[in-house]
């Protein structure tokens, strides 16, 4: 048994806001305070500390084919960022695309204990699971990309609305089960397929070859399927026109299309730009934040820009090609048959670059203008907008408006004409930070045992020493506990336990419909019987129930 005592507990899921109380852990769970002092108890004296639930990362790129393509393509990212092995940890390297082991240690060193890889094409799902198994300490899961999947688009091309919905529901369940994934991911719906046909960027009502379905139908169809299956996490949406000035229009229109459905909009910073008259970037954050404020069924994460090196990697192949053209630097692409695409482009964001400065402000504007911290989450879309190791600094930016002002001074001065950040005075409280870094994520993921410290929650706890400098405070936790074991002490990993894979309990989904199976056998380069990920890749997967 382990007791965390004397700390000020911030557990927004249970409305505990900084009260000094003990947290008792036993058998991997939070337990009630025992009636009598137990004989065998270890104590962490958290006097002068805040006690948070373990952090929950709901959108990051840490495992699988495109992440590894980024690692292999960018040795210059690793050479100055390495860690020697210790008695408990393995060696590793990489700054924006760290090796799997280092990824686990670095997340744990910030107090995170749960992690989701945000974009896995079904054909390479085995690869993602192999890497997730090599990420120590954290419980992990992944999302399956479906927004350009041929079987999905074929089903959606059915004019019969009812049959279409029923068949899509079965197909989504089958795909999730085949990939052992946790949620439905949509990336640039229809846009990746369109690119393969030399089509331009798609709008909500562009008919996309070869099935003639529109992004609107893909979005609404998949959102409805996720809802009707009762998946713990709603559709996780990367919208069309990522990174393009003026994309606020398609963002708002997509939100309108999904109104009334649960939906999570990811890295919204990249989707919240007005266009200036010269076609350059201006903030569209106020309008997007207002839309989120008005729709309690929506959640979002921000994808905050971090100045310095980044590695962009998405299934949004056409967007990566566009980025490559901005810099003419390296570009990796992989079209994936019948499913998806992928691109990787290294990047460096600079505060003097007006575009980057606007993007940086837009992220913070969204965080500050969206009022409900349960519906906006802190991410950097790691490593697209920057590496996750920047979280402590971003926390300080949210909590400390003086620090924000100092940073605004360092930006390209024209940024004030195109953003409103300098007008915003809001400062996050510790409770709000606990919400946007764990409690809110756990709730929208449907992880009832994560993101809080009530009895029955997983024994995942992060203890930070109170300091005025919030960046230093959150950069080196006094202790991090995972599953009841102390894994980090004073910011260093002291035990590298294994995390568990997370999945959803879909029962035994119906087999793939005969016409879809035939299409698959005709055009895939693997046999249907060899497609689904075997149990061996997700040993002892924890299955979260669905609520249809």
């Amino acid at each position: 048994m382990l007791r965390v005592t004397n700390g000020r507990v911030h557990d927004p899921g249970n409305a505990v806001a900084g009260e000094v109380r003990d947290v008792w852990l036993d058998g991997g769970k939070v337990v009630a305070e025992p009636a009598a002092e137990p004989a065998d108890v270890a104590t962490l004296d958290a006097a002068g500390c805040v006690v948070f639930p373990g952090g929950v990362e709901l959108h990051s790129h840490v495992a699988g084919s495109k992440v590894n393509a980024g690692r292999i393509m960018c040795p210059e990212d690793h050479v100055d960022h390495y860690r020697c092995r210790t008695d408990v940890t393995r060696a590793g390297c990489g700054h924006t695309v760290p090796t799997t082991y280092l990824t686990g240690y670095e997340y744990a060193r910030l107090g995170y204990t749960t992690l989701f890889e945000a974009a896995v094409p079904p054909l390479t799902a085995r690869h993602a699971h192999e890497e997730l198994r090599d990420i120590p300490i954290l419980d992990t899961g992944c999302y399956t990309v479906m927004g350009n999947n041929h079987l999905v688009m074929k089903v959606l091309s059915d004019p019969d609305e009812e049959r279409r919905a029923a068949r899509l529901r079965d197909l989504v369940a089958w795909l999730l089960h085949a990939t052992r994934a946790y949620a439905v991911k949509i990336v640039n719906p229809g846009g990746v397929e369109s690119w393969k046909w030399h089509g331009g960027p798609v709008d909500l009502d562009t008919s996309v070859p070869p099935y003639g379905v529109t992004p609107r139908r893909i979005l609404t169809g998949l959102a409805a399927a996720a809802d009707e299956l009762g998946l713990p996490h709603p559709v996780h949406v990367h919208l069309n026109h990522l990174g393009v000035p003026g994309n606020v229009a398609v963002t708002l229109a997509s939100m309108q299309a999904l109104a009334g459905r649960r939906a999570h909009f990811t890295h919204l910073q990249f989707h919240s730009y007005e266009a200036t008259r010269s076609g350059s970037y201006a903030s569209g954050a106020p309008a997007v934040a207002e839309s989120i404020n008005q729709h309690p069924e929506f959640t979002c994460d921000v994808g905050q820009l971090v100045f310095g090196p980044a590695t962009t990697m998405t299934s949004d192949a056409p967007m990566e090609f566009r980025l490559h053209h901005l810099h003419k630097d390296k570009w990796a692409n992989s079209d994936i048959e019948m499913e998806s695409g992928a691109g990787v482009v290294p990047m460096r964001y600079s505060p003097r670059q007006l575009v980057n400065a606007v993007q940086w402000c837009v992220g913070l504007e969204l965080m500050l203008l969206i009022r409900d911290p349960w519906r906006v989450f802190l991410t950097t879309d790691h490593p697209n907008a920057g590496p996750f190791v920047a979280y402590p600094m971003i926390v300080r930016l949210l909590m400390d408006r003086e620090f924000r002002r100092e940073w605004l001074e360092k930006l390209n001065p024209r940024v004030r004409r195109f953003t409103t950040l300098h007008e915003l005075d809001r400062e996050y409280t510790l409770d709000e930070i606990a919400t946007v870094t764990r409690a809110g994520q756990a709730r929208v993921l449907g992880l009832a045992d994560k993101g809080h410290l009530g009895v029955g929650a997983d024994a995942d706890v992060a203890v930070y020493r109170e300091q005025g400098d919030r960046e230093r405070m959150f950069a080196a936790p006094a202790w991090v506990v995972k599953g009841g074991e102390v894994v980090v002490r004073d910011g260093e990993v002291v035990a590298a336990v294994d995390g568990r894979p997370l999945g959803v309990d879909l029962g035994d989904p119906p087999p793939l419909a005969a016409d879809l199976a035939e299409q698959f056998e005709s055009y895939s380069s693997v046999r249907l019987a060899n497609y689904a990920v075997e149990d061996a890749y997700v040993p002892d997967q924890v299955l979260i129930p669905c609520a249809p």
């Binding site: 090599d134 048959e337 019948m338």
Partner: protein, 310 residues
Amino acid sequence: MIARQQVGLATCTLGEVKNRADLVIFWGCNPRESHQRHQARYSASVKGQFIPEGRKGRRIVAIDVRPTSTTAAADQFIQVEPGSTFETATLLRALVAGKRIGIEEDAKVGGVPLHVWRELAEAIKAADYGVILFGLGVTHDRGHDLNVEELGALIREVNDYTRFYGLPMRGHGNVTGSNQVMGWQTGYPIAVNFNRGYPRYNPGEFSVLGLLAREEVDAAIIIATDPGAHLPGDSVAALQAIPTIYLEPHVNTTTGWATVVIPVAPAGVAAEGTFYRMDNVPLRVRKLVDSPFPSDEEVLRSIKETILHA
């Protein structure tokens, strides 16, 4: 590998080649000998979703230094001089970009008249979905990685006009899997040195040939390869002079001289695991028969545990 680190590579899976590629260029490779089912399954006769006529729906071009069964079955064979890959790829880049070439139309580049290259450049731009499948004739030609880099640049630039991709025709069993695992565990696909306690990367210096030539290796574990057959004679001699542990299911040119040979169950026959196809698609290989011998993984695990607890 090194070329990918310089410019990246635009590529696609083999199913995309099958379903979409209307122009297939075999450059310095002979899949009819080296990858015998490749053309029938993915790249020539196969019917794809958007290439319903199969072979008739694809234009096939073979570029090589000598006639082979692959060049014989192509619609067009461009026979080039050895050592000309970099030069011809550079020329194609210029032609695709519409740059003025300051030579006569019948002047030769790589032993082939300029107008042939001009026609190829036009065919590349006119294709809907083109791929270059390249092999040892590119990677082992004079220039090595620079050739791949130049091909990569060509492929990248053609994407301003149409979809166009490159796939290395890799052999050697699960070499792709080895690159992938090294990539996620160490950050680098090949040539990783741990002697300072963290991964360092320097192809050449830390490659097998370099390490053996400088006699820096004092013991070796050899897995899933036959150095007796694949390495040059002086590298083999360097290995023979040190203790070697060899994990191998079959008798071959290395088993005779390795210090210790541990027979293992062959993967995909008597041991399961993951195989990364040449297009990086991960496949499960199954265990079909029992073997009296342990798998590579079991052997390595028990060696590791024995050392840890020694």
